[in-house]
Symmetry: D2
Subunit: 137 residues, 4 copies
């Protein structure tokens, strides 16, 4: 059950090589994960006010083709693993073109991101059952 | 008594127009003001731990010429006004070229920035005398 | 005839003061201007491929209140002046709350931005009539 | 032969979690690689004017501890592999503390980054011998 977020590329996303700057895809991926969780009813703001945060522990990201100014992109987000204190996301960036279905589109960027649940002291903490149930659905 | 901070332009500072993105000069100016204050012995981190912050209230910024990838820039910072709860900075960006003295160089960007001293509730607060004395020197 | 763009605040927009970083509102304003022009049929990407760019010449920005993580904001964009080679935009950021109409909401940030039309040599160029007609509508 | 770049953390590097935003370390790593190559006499700006670019193909990044506002960091950069069309960098971020030698400091962030040499059409291109000789030294 993949979540899709549409993103348009603006000047502030690009660099003087004429393409989206490599670090900025991590911003797109943050937005994709947040919207995916929001849709499942997991509200990161409320969680942080209760002393629970999800922080990024590891990212593996492959750049396969450049996105450019004014492109309409799709940020596709899926959860691939859930453990006691961590969640693993698989995400990819597709260029949204009218002439092809996004299911067949070649990914421009692919990333595997591991988030760890932490408490206010930055120590790993078990993910709450209420959250786990929502993500597993 | 102007403070000068040297900054090199990297890919992450630029956009696909081939020049430094207009919002990113505000990051350079933050760095310039912070280093100016640090040199005078005003430590923003310590102040924030004591419940005092300086936040930007207003910026007027004029873009006169583009800075480009790999340019070595000078961020020139001066205080032009000090009031009970606010400080006004005049800042400019010069391209650091060997063949000209920076005093004569044409500014690429000029900005006037007003900072307001606030407390933890985001309310204006009188700037501490110890800070005023350092800035006036 | 104001254009309204909805923007959600993510972690990458904020700083450790707990609010949106002051330079990042200029990214929101870029997006607002671009969507406003797109809606009027002015396509900045096509124009740049024809040797015409709009670059920011001056910004006056007033910060009146902080936006925070997970806020839903409205970026309101209007054109207030059109000259031979330049366009002046008035823009503001409102917090989108259910209980109030955005018309009455207090702006968190207000900005007046002047864009200049330039050619490939960064020289001012008269704005094409076809563009002027669309913006004047 | 590791290259060390000192970086201070400013507000624009952080997020409302109180720490450096996870994508911003990739900016630090860009700066580290650029300064490493510059020191070896490999000038990325000149190369791009000759139709040669190095683009990031893959990043593996592990976040082990947070960097915070006003921290003085060290970006440590080494080349670990050179192939016909690609270079692999190993980089890490250390907190620069007076009381410990950076050789012993625990890395806050570690990354392995693969750069690919491309031509103007974004096709892989053999890395020039003159560059290889400099990097191998």
């Amino acid at each position: 059950m993949a979540h899709i977020l549409e993103k348009k590329v603006y000047y502030h996303d690009t660099d003087c090589g004429g393409v989206v700057y490599y670090a900025n895809y991590l911003k797109y991926f943050e937005e994709g994960r947040t919207e995916y969780l929001t849709e499942l009813g997991v509200d990161l703001k409320t969680l942080s006010s209760q002393g629970t945060w999800f922080v990024v522990k590891r990212v593996e990201i492959d750049y396969k083709g450049p996105a450019r100014y004014a492109d309409i992109l799709e940020v596709v987000t899926e959860v691939t693993k859930i453990r006691n204190v961590s969640i693993e996301f698989q995400q990819r960036i597709l260029r949204n073109t009218r002439s092809e279905q996004s299911g067949n589109a070649t990914a421009l960027v692919e990333a595997k991101t591991t988030l760890v649940c932490i408490d206010a002291s930055f120590r790993p903490a078990a993910i709450d059952d209420a959250i786990l149930k929502r993500i597993r659905i």
